[in-house]
């Protein structure tokens, strides 16, 4: 039951060693830097130190309570990440697979739109545009309505 924010790469296999012992189902998701058809060299990811850690921990606890998770882990990297590198992962453990899958999606939807990270595109010419938030990500959050990780939402 941990959330981490770091610049270093992580190894999914190592992270999963001993994770969720005794669970009936474990789901892992990892997000990678896309090269967008060769256009992008890297992403630069900025975050809000202090708030990020608190937010990830709150989302993890909220997911655990809502879906009855027996274990969860969130890792999100920041700094400059090359195309093809892992940006982040979530893992959820539960008695049955439906809860583990749902909780992983729930966490991803919250992370996309409510965790204080901002991505900037790096092309061969150097720093480019900041990535804009997608309406679809906001819509994805709406389906979980009725619970909130933050009083402002």
């Amino acid at each position: 039951m941990t959330a981490r924010v770091q610049t270093d790469a992580f190894d999914l296999g190592q992270e999963m060693a001993g994770f969720g012992q005794g669970a009936g189902a474990i789901v892992t998701f990892s997000g990678l830097v896309r090269d967008e058809g060769g256009r992008l060299v890297a992403l630069e990811i900025e975050h809000y130190p202090g708030m990020t850690e608190k937010a990830l921990d709150a989302y993890g606890r909220e997911a655990a309570a809502r879906f009855g998770l027996t274990d969860w882990r969130i890792i999100h990297r920041h700094g400059r990440l090359q195309a093809g590198e892992q940006i982040m992962m979530v893992a959820t453990a539960a008695r049955h697979r439906a809860a583990a899958f749902e909780a992983a999606e729930y966490l991803m939807d919250w992370l996309k739109s409510r965790a204080p990270f901002w991505k900037r595109e790096i092309t061969a010419e150097g720093p480019g545009d900041w990535v804009e938030a997608k309406g679809a990500d906001e819509d994805a959050l709406a389906r979980w309505q009725g619970t909130s990780c933050n009083p402002a939402d």
Partner: protein
């Protein structure tokens, strides 16, 4: 009241600094935004489209009409793009 104001991503770039200490009498975030926007053209540009600005009071998301109350750290940033 003195508050620390933080900016992230393109708001930080437009304002030209990551944080500043501000003396304010604002009651709500929206009032603080008006005071900041009046400081100079960079602040005004950064805070011109409030539909693209998100706010955190002491590291908790809040909306523009939230009272500042006893918050000491107020952050402004674009919609998040994590994951």
């Amino acid at each position: 009241m003195v508050v620390d104001v933080l900016y992230f991503a393109w708001l930080r770039e437009r304002v030209g600094q990551a944080r500043e200490r501000v003396e304010t009498g604002a009651g709500t975030v929206r009032e603080l935004v008006a005071e900041l926007a009046a400081k100079d053209e960079w602040h005004a540009a950064a805070l011109s489209d409030l539909s693209a600005v998100r706010v955190a009071l002491d590291q908790e998301l809040a909306d523009l009409d939230a009272p500042i109350a006893n918050a000491r750290e107020i952050a402004f940033f674009p919609p998040m793009t994590g994951g």
